[in-house]
Symmetry: C2
């Protein structure tokens, strides 16, 4: 035994020494799912610049605010926003308690499985379905409903849990920014209370760093127990020109870096770019029809038209998902 | 020189050794401005309990949310809210640009120095003055106005800068909680944009951890430059039952500890107390008419009546400013 042991130990030590050398010579890539290219280069150059002490572009950690759109930027959004799938699933789940829905639009169409008829009802129909499924319960009850759904529901096309349809390169980007002293926020048109129950586990973003659309809540004592009741009234739409408003209201600082994928993010990127000193504005461009969905200027969901023009004009970073990402989904 | 050097060095080492011994034997008191008594004891016992690993009451750092009222809890609020002094000062400052105010109430009374007549106009008069001074400019312009005012204005009675009328024991409490992994938030009926420009410097609370009342803002491009314009429309009153609503909207977690001084904080404390496991609910009771102002059940500003009863019933911590605080103001 002893004769075989020495070379074995030697081999282990040699490997360890080599590994150590490699580690020193080439530090681990913080963005391994990103191909080398202009997008990755611009991200790393920006982060290096604002975090290098003594650099003219150095930014104190307190000012390192990064805001991320969610739908289409951190997770997929096709063939429609995942929160709408949640709403449709909820209508079906609670239909037994609403026998009147059988004869009442837009619920009747939905329960018959006639999505065409449902969508023909336009925004009004969607809003009715969202309100029927997002209001009328306490905040705690709604949180549990979302938790249950996100843990069990599956995407109709990929058949995967929705939380597996988050973009691996963006998870790495979030972690990379946080490792460099950035505070990462979600700033999404989606419902703030729909995202919070899972954003911390999935993205590492705590509830107090989630900004989104919201409905009215009301404080009440129920048998002496305080509750917050969710009411069917929209108080804020965190989209388009609403995003800088939401950022100002919630964060109170201008972002140093902002990340989006659609025209709904344009004003957030403009607001970010208008700050003094270096800023990073980045669009994720959905170019990969094989691993995901390719869409931009004429899409109903996640339309990127004016934003793309502005990005070209201003020299913002545009990620070509097909070229820039080695992996798309996290698993 | 050499002969005197050795005893000198020895003396230094002796002092160092003694200091070290003292430090080990008795750690520095994190709340030196608090007298030993039930209030201080309950604070320290609570913090120790929720931060002791392995304790049944241990709470993870992410859940250690502490919310503080501002007026009357972190700084003084007599003879009226400091933000109202700001509004009155602003009316005088911009009056030259508003010649019509000379004949227009409530401005005319104020400019004549007739506060009685002004207050006779009730809430409506106050609201008009607040809107005239808080809206009609960009968020950036308003921030600069507040910064200038807070740097130069003086309290009409104490003649001190307002930022010197913050409570030293509460500054120590904020620091003590943060040193124990708590995230500290302001949750105030005051204007969110009125507090943010100075809260970080004065309290160590960054803009994104300030929750307050707000008016509508609107995104606009002015000559291609994005601005947020402040409009004369209140969108949220962060007071009374509004405080749990604001906490839920902004923080998205129930506080582990909450601190107030008036009935306007009662629902925040109830919301906090209703969480599972140990919670700290604390009222600052204004009992010191010599170093500050004594007021509670019948005061117009900072009325503490129902809250005091509830604190007695629930066994919440009530700070007796006169007995519990060695020092009141920070300087």
């Amino acid at each position: 035994m002893k004769t075989t042991r020495t070379p074995g130990l030697f081999a282990v030590m040699l490997v360890a020494a080599l590994t150590l050398t490699t580690a020193v010579a080439r530090p681990a890539d913080p963005l391994p799912s990103w191909n080398e290219g202009p997008a990755k280069k611009s991200i790393v150059a920006f982060v290096t610049k604002v975090t290098t002490k003594g650099s003219l572009d150095f930014v104190s950690p307190a000012e390192r605010i990064a805001t991320f759109d969610n739908d289409g930027t951190l997770w997929a959004e096709q063939p429609m926003y995942f929160q709408l799938f949640f709403a449709l699933d909820r209508v079906k789940a609670v239909a037994p308690q609403h026998p009147e829905w059988k004869d009442q639009e837009p619920f009747a169409s939905l329960l018959r499985g006639d999505l065409q008829a449902l969508l023909a009802g336009g925004e009004k129909a969607i809003l009715e379905i969202v309100m029927a499924t997002h209001a009328g319960m306490t905040t705690q009850e709604f949180e549990e409903i979302v938790r249950d759904w996100i843990a069990t529901a599956r995407h109709p096309i990929t058949k995967r849990p929705y939380t597996e349809m988050v973009y691996q390169p963006m998870l790495e980007l979030l972690a990379y920014l946080r490792a460099n002293g950035f505070k990462t926020f979600i700033v999404s048109g989606g419902g703030i209370e729909f995202m919070r129950p899972w954003a911390e586990k999935v993205y590492g973003i705590p509830p107090e760093q989630v900004v989104g659309s919201s409905i009215r809540t009301k404080f009440e004592l129920r048998d002496g127990q305080p509750v917050l009741l969710r009411l069917p009234e929209i108080t804020f739409i965190d989209d388009g020109p609403g995003k800088p408003v939401g950022i100002n209201q919630h964060i109170g600082r201008r972002p140093l870096a902002a990340f989006g994928n659609s025209d709904g993010d344009l004003q957030m990127l403009q607001w970010t770019a208008a700050g003094a000193g270096p800023r990073l504005c980045l669009y994720v461009h959905h170019t990969d029809n094989e691993r995901e969905w390719a869409y931009d200027r004429v899409s109903h969901i996640g339309k990127l038209d004016k934003g793309l023009d502005e990005a070209m004009r201003q020299g913002w970073t545009v990620v070509d998902m097909k070229k820039d990402w080695k992996i798309v989904f996290a698993r």
